[in-house]
């Protein structure tokens, strides 16, 4: 069975080659068939591989398949080789599984787009790159996938390149990602320089011998790698590309946000966690940035009206959770959340796509409302996803998020403060997600008549993936129930061979398991569930029952303070004291930090480069005598350096 590992990424590549070479030469059904089937086959293969791996004893679950020796030159050995272990097995399941559903969904969503063949070609290439990334057994091959994913995101976000905003967004994603890649590449160089290998297993095994734990070099290497993860996984301060990435077709957003691309950073850290365990300072940086991103992105999510933007910021926020988990050395929890998040976030995006599809491409939630009755399948599935992301007990998101919160509190690397941030964020998440649900599906119908006339549920190819994902969003978390409930945490158990490395195995509660303080764990769980329920109630209050209150709140914040005296006065003070600073803060973050500082910085760099070019152009006057003068000046300086230096 394990001889077929290479087929998992290869088959989507074949799909890309087929669709890419025959753009516009084959009928659409064939394009869809090839596009979906290739990913489907690779999913089925992943399932088989998973069970084959499961049938092995735990310590033998480490399969490497060397395809060919890529660069066996001297000390520098790199193979094109794949690594199947519990971690990558989970990843290929998620990538190919969710990817497959998104492919199927795309058949319906993109049915009338002129670039249909191109779209599926890129989509397959995207899947291929991501599968290569997660299956690679060395840094270099991972980097190939890493770059491929970046390239595909550029192509897909800018898919509707006729729209200037779309091609700009594609460029932005690409440039910001390259900044991250820069860090990744340097980290890779640093590791190779010190260890002399890029092979994961060798690096992890030799690293303790080469680096001093907690030393500057290992910390630098980890932080450089993390810079790569920041870019790819949209963390502060490089998260700016992700909200703009909404310009691409909605299934692409789903693919980027759920199954591929953004999860690469989390995966990379989990893959190299042995290095991070040697660098507690780097872990702290990861945890702090993760927590900060989770919180700030959630606050920004409160202030958005575009349905896809809310989801985009929620992705950033959820990724922050995953990094928080990694930062407190609870890598299994991070991957667990990655998996559940893949289910419900894919569902949310596809649902949002379905809503947009129904609303004739309207994305503003204020112009929606009352869609519940028009979209009988989309509504319940999205509700399930929202319950999952909010963390209602029983749904998948609850288990993964709760585990992260508990680990951030109890882990050796954790801190109550990190828990507080995660806890507050959980409340904010519940609030803005239910705000989305209430604004979209409940309340008055605020769309114009023409749109209302066109409202319709999406075709079968779109709704079936929704239903499947909805089921997964519920049951997907059951594999990782906490010990608290008296059951085995299958997920953590499955990850154990990867996540408890030889190094540090003897050093106590690094990967703190639950159950050490059951009372505390129950208390925290109850607290967070309580907060979530309160937040949902608040959302319901503002956005369903009393939509005016929300309007009032908004108007008050925009400076029109006329409605201070009304019957919700007390409640409003209560809300304003907490909500207003947060909303102001989020608006500040969004308007000032995001738009002015970061965009300004990026544009500023571009301007500086342009201005430098302007100055340098004067040297290039086209006049030979000036060239000669410059030449002689160069000669002067070079001689002077040699003779006097």
């Amino acid at each position: 069975m394990f001889d077929y590992i290479f087929l998992v990424p290869l088959i989507p590549l074949l799909g890309f080659i087929f669709n890419g070479l025959l753009i516009g030469r084959v009928p659409r059904p064939l394009i869809s068939l090839v596009g979906c089937l290739t990913v489907g086959v690779s999913f089925i293969l992943s399932v088989f591989l998973f069970f084959a791996l499961k049938s092995l004893p735990a310590e033998a679950r480490f399969i490497e398949q060397v395809l060919f020796s890529w660069i066996p030159a001297g000390s520098f050995q790199v193979d094109v080789a794949f690594l199947l272990d519990p971690l990558s097995a989970v990843m290929i399941l998620v990538v190919s599984g969710v990817g497959f559903l998104i492919h199927v969904y795309s058949v319906g969503y993109m049915h009338s787009d002129p670039g249909y063949g191109r779209y599926f070609a890129f989509l397959n290439l995207f899947t291929f790159s991501m599968l290569t990334l997660v299956l690679a057994n060395n840094f270099l091959l991972m980097f190939v996938g890493w770059e491929g994913v970046g390239l595909c995101s550029y192509l897909l976000i800018g898919f509707w390149f006729e729209k200037k905003s779309a091609s700009d967004a594609g460029k932005k994603a690409f440039i910001v990602n390259r900044i991250g890649d820069f860090g990744f590449l340097l980290g890779m160089f640093l590791i190779f320089w010190q260890v002399g290998s890029l092979h994961f297993d060798t690096v992890m095994k030799t690293a303790p011998l080469v680096f001093t734990a907690g030393g500057g070099l290992i910390t630098a290497a980890c932080i450089l790698l993390f810079v790569g993860a920041i870019g790819k996984s949209a963390q502060i301060p490089l998260y700016v590309w992700l909200p703009d990435a909404m310009e691409g077709p909605t299934p692409v957003s789903a693919l980027i946000h759920a199954a591929t691309m953004v999860t690469a950073g989390v995966y990379m850290i989990a893959r190299t966690h042995d290095l991070y365990l040697m660098a507690p300072d780097a872990l702290m940086v990861v945890a702090v940035i993760g927590a900060a991103t989770a919180f700030f992105a959630a606050t920004i999510g409160l202030a958005q009206n575009d349905i896809k933007r809310v989801l985009a910021y929620s992705t950033v926020s959820q990724l922050g959770y995953m990094f928080l988990a990694c930062g407190v050395a609870s890598f299994a929890a991070g991957i667990f959340h990655l998996m559940t998040h893949a289910f419900f976030k894919a569902l949310l995006f596809l649902g949002a796509g379905s809503v947009i599809h129904a609303m004739s491409a309207e994305q503003n939630m204020r112009k929606m409302g009352g869609l519940k009755k028009y979209l009988p399948i989309t509504y319940p599935t999205m509700l399930v996803a929202t319950l999952a992301i909010a963390g209602i007990p029983g749904f998948s998101g609850f288990f993964s998020k709760d585990e992260i919160l508990w680990k951030s509190f109890s882990s050796h690397y954790g801190h109550p403060f990190l828990w507080v941030i995660g806890f507050v964020t959980a409340g904010l998440t519940a609030f803005y997600m239910f705000r989305l649900i209430y604004l979209t599906f409940h309340g008055q119908e605020r769309m114009d008549d023409k749109t209302r006339h066109h409202l319709h549920e999406s075709p079968r190819t779109m709704t079936v993936p929704l239903v499947i994902l909805a089921v997964l969003s519920v049951v997907g978390g059951w594999v990782g129930m906490p010990h608290l409930f008296g059951v085995t945490n299958y997920f953590e158990h499955w990850m154990e061979p990867v996540m408890t490395p030889g190094y540090n195995a003897s050093e106590g509660p690094l990967l703190a398991s639950g159950g050490s303080d059951t009372g505390m764990e129950i208390l925290l769980m109850v607290l967070s569930v309580g907060l979530v329920l309160a937040a949902i109630y608040a959302a319901r209050y503002y956005y369903q029952k009393n939509i005016q209150a929300a309007t009032a709140l908004r108007e008050k914040l925009s400076g029109l303070n006329k409605l201070l005296v009304n019957k919700y006065y007390v409640d409003e003070i209560y809300g304003a004291v907490i909500v207003r600073p947060v909303v102001y803060g989020s608006i500040f973050l969004w308007k000032v930090v995001d738009v002015v500082l970061i965009d300004g910085l990026a544009n500023g760099l571009a301007t500086i480069a342009r201005d430098m070019a302007e100055v340098l152009r004067h040297m290039q006057s086209g006049q030979v005598r000036r060239y000669a003068t410059l030449f002689v000046t160069g000669v002067l300086l070079v001689i002077a350096y040699f003779v006097f230096g």
Partner: protein, 192 residues
Amino acid sequence: MNLDTIVFLVSAVVAVFSATMMISQRNTVASVLYLILSLLAQAVLYIQLSALFLSAVLIIVYAGAIMVLFLFVVMLLNLRGNQDLGDKPSPVSRITKYLVSILLVVELVFIIRGIGFDTGTVGIMTLAADDFGSVAAVARILFTNYLYPFELTGVLLLVAIVGAVVVSKREKSYETPAGSGNMPDDRKKVEI
């Protein structure tokens, strides 16, 4: 200070001075004449170094043949005085030009100053008579040890001839350029 030194100094000064004059003249005929003067002075220097054959070749080939060719070219082109040498450069680039040249000279002087003059062994008057620098000696080494560069020089000359022919051959439809539309724009493009 012996006679050798005096001869050396005089001819060196003449060589450098006339070379400088040559490049600073706007009148091309005067330029050519200064160049001949410079070459003659250099020939004297070669003689002082016992390179008799080289100095003869320098005079015959450069001062004789090539310079006459230059004069023909100048006369055929019918350039007179200050005409047709393009616009004057801007004051800034003129100053930079001089500044850079002077600095280069200063640097070269500094380099050469590093080695003191050893007047004792320099000059034909003090040299023992052997066949160093004679036609036979030069020929012998040229056709044995330095055969390879010598043959390469032949190739180089052939290349130069072919190149000159290609560049100067009359182009049939030179007046009506094909492909490109208007030439002033082309020039502007290049000068970006």
